[in-house]
Subunit: 226 residues, 2 copies
Amino acid sequence: MNETSTSSSVSPSAEEYLLTLFRKEVGNEQIGTSKLAELFDVKAPSVTGMLRRLHKRGWVTYKRYRPPELTDLGRSIATKLIRRHRLLETYLVSHLEFDPDEVHDEVEILEHAVSDTLIDRIDEKLGHPAFDPHGEPIPDENGHSPNMNLITLSTVAEESSAVFSRMDNRDLGMKKHLTSLGLQPGTNLTRMSSGQADQLLVKAGERLLKMPEKIAQLIWVWPDTY
Amino acid sequence: MNETSTSSSVSPSAEEYLLTLFRKEVGNEQIGTSKLAELFDVKAPSVTGMLRRLHKRGWVTYKRYRPPELTDLGRSIATKLIRRHRLLETYLVSHLEFDPDEVHDEVEILEHAVSDTLIDRIDEKLGHPAFDPHGEPIPDENGHSPNMNLITLSTVAEESSAVFSRMDNRDLGMKKHLTSLGLQPGTNLTRMSSGQADQLLVKAGERLLKMPEKIAQLIWVWPDTY
DNA sequence: TATTATTATTAGGATATCCTAACTTTTTGG
DNA sequence: CCAAAAAGTTAGGATATCCTAATAATAATA
């Protein structure tokens, strides 16, 4: 058993802190003791204590009064947690009718309780998805994320194909609309030639859709590049 | 929010102890400190400590050197936990291809982490099942178990029908054997008349089986009583 | 740059869980 | 019915989390 296989052996809080630190690092955001305290609804000294413990576990480098830095180990563990998190979200949304915007809290607790076996089962059931319901990439078992060289659908050349990756997930209405048309992360799209300037002709699976240029600019795809 | 709605706010171990105590009570079995210690792979003093805490929470009545007694509150909480447990087992088996004999450990951890909402979703997905994969009854939201008036298959009258409910689940070999013959919780059985004394003739679904009296005594069925 | 304001840490406690070692009560059996 | 054996408890520690109050370091500003 490697250090990260049995997540139930590790305290949930510690993993949550790690995850937060990781997300902030990815987003190039600064985060200190008091911000963390606020996020976790905890008092500052608790954060200091946690940072010490994370340091002791080798997940972060920590020196008093300095912001914590993730170690490679920390990053690798966080990546596995991200994978669990996104797979669980995907599963709850697609198999248990959870609302994409409401799964987070449930998953935050679950991700520390499910076994690797269950995660693998879910991954299989879902067909090894590369993106979660929010369009975020799901790292594979080795921690590699799908290489994202995303472009908007509007920049795809006519007669070219691409894979739907993500859409602006701030506009729920549009999201639902697109989903109802069969446009979801993973859907294969082909842009057909169309006479009109501000209107695209897109083949999504079997369907042929007309789509305003404006919307195509909000849809990010993974280009088929051979 | 009632005392038991947010199980994540309560320590998993305490709930596990409660569950064990409840199961023993139901089975009319005695259980003391050292047996508990063995079950939880923990030393005796830890059990004493836990019993004190369970007492303080009002889940059990405890006096030193005496076996613990469940309180009504304890029983009611345990019943909810049993519901979670059995629904989760049922779900993992029917929707995620877990082996009925291997779900237990997974569920033991999960049952303390899932929200009531998720449990309700699962319950719906499963169509409000009354029995789990082991044939054990699943209490409803109010803690009521399906009324079970079980009798053994050997006491079913000839030419009468009954529904397979449960079998002695201590004998794994027999269980697998019966399962392979199509005998599972839920299967409809009809006892046919047979000339032999120590041998029953049983129709299970489409199949006609010969079954030693001995085995029929270990199979519990829900009689068809109109 | 010196002083104030902000941010972060220590000190000292609480709870839940677990442990070892030493002790007590209950049970059992001659 | 009394002495071992078995079962259970207390005492004293450990770790992970969290807290409050007091203190220290860094950052910001006049």
